[in-house]
């Protein structure tokens, strides 16, 4: 798929996935790259920025695979941002769909 379409949407995917439940980095990379073609290095800077902006909190949890995993949990501020961005996306994609018919 055209990677031009990715721009701006990856952040929305990350927000929406963490909004449903707490998640760790590799899980997000896997989930998103299964459907959207991205470089795996893309996700971590986005996670960092969203955490710095106060949309996520993080905590460490032991894992059987190796070092403890860092989990991302959405904050109320993040939930608001997610709601808003999902709304914007639906409006936008609705308009595009209508034009393609």
């Amino acid at each position: 798929m055209n990677s031009q379409f990715n721009k701006g949407v990856i952040e929305l995917c990350v927000l929406a996935l963490v909004n449903t439940k707490d998640r760790y980095g590799y899980e997000l990379v896997e989930r998103i790259s299964k459907r959207v073609e991205i470089s795996e290095g893309t996700i971590y800077p986005i996670l960092r920025r969203l955490t710095q902006d106060g949309f996520f909190e993080t905590y460490l949890q032991e894992s059987s695979e190796g070092p403890p995993r860092k989990y991302y949990r959405i904050t109320s501020q993040g939930r608001e941002a997610c709601k808003e961005q999902v709304q914007q996306w639906k409006t936008f994609s609705g308009h595009v769909d209508a034009l393609l018919k």
């Binding site: 701006g8 980095g25 991205i38 470089s39 795996e40 800077p45 695979e65 190796g66 995993r69």
Partner: protein, 197 residues
């Protein structure tokens, strides 16, 4: 340094490229990517595959560096610091995506050019208006014959100085406004580059 081929080489190189970040932040970014390696290896990938997926340590690091400088510049109120930051962010963004240079150069050049012209004009006007106004005021106090012309000289001089100062203030406001706009543009550009990869 040549190609990085193993997890340890990759993390070491990433760490070196992030040397300008505060130690705690650098350690945390390294930790995140170490976790990524260990999860990806556990899922059956080879180190080479993980490295290919992550992209070069240099471009990964430049993204973090640009993000960090942007964040500091956004918080800062010092025009000088913000100007220096814009230069450093531009450098990172061009290393990240060389062709991006042509996208960046337009707005930054036009904005910077307009400001430079503005400062040049106000500097020129200032160097003319200031001495003239000043000598009008001092001259009138020292020895103008009639009180009416003395008053008009003082008023004229004061108006001159006042308008020159106003012009400098307006230029200062324009400069800091333009810097904020440039920073917002760079933030958007960084996001665009990172998500488009």
């Amino acid at each position: 340094m040549g190609r990085v081929e193993t997890k340890n080489e990759y993390l070491a190189e990433l760490g070196r490229k992030l040397a300008r970040l505060p130690e705690s932040e650098r350690a945390e970014i390294l930790r995140d990517h170490e976790e990524h390696f260990s999860d990806a290896l556990a899922a059956g990938k080879s180190e080479a595959q993980v490295i290919q997926g992550l992209g070069s340590p240099d471009s990964l690091a430049q993204g973090y560096l640009a993000g960090r400088i942007l964040e500091q510049a956004e918080k800062s109120t010092s025009v000088g610091f913000r100007l220096v930051s814009v230069g450093r962010i531009l450098k990172s963004l061009v290393i990240l995506a060389p062709l991006n240079f042509f996208v960046l150069i337009g707005p930054v050049f036009v904005g910077g050019g307009l400001l430079a012209v503005g400062w040049w004009v106000s500097g020129l006007v200032g160097t003319i208006v200031f001495p003239v106004s000043w000598s009008a005021i001092t001259g009138s106090i020292l020895g103008a014959p009639e009180s009416l012309s003395r008053l008009s000289l003082v008023l004229g001089g004061a108006t001159g100085i006042f308008s020159a100062l106003t012009m400098v203030c307006i230029m200062a406001l324009l400069t800091s406004g333009a810097l904020s706009l440039v920073l917002r543009y760079l933030r958007w550009n960084l996001k665009f580059i990172q998500e488009g990869k």
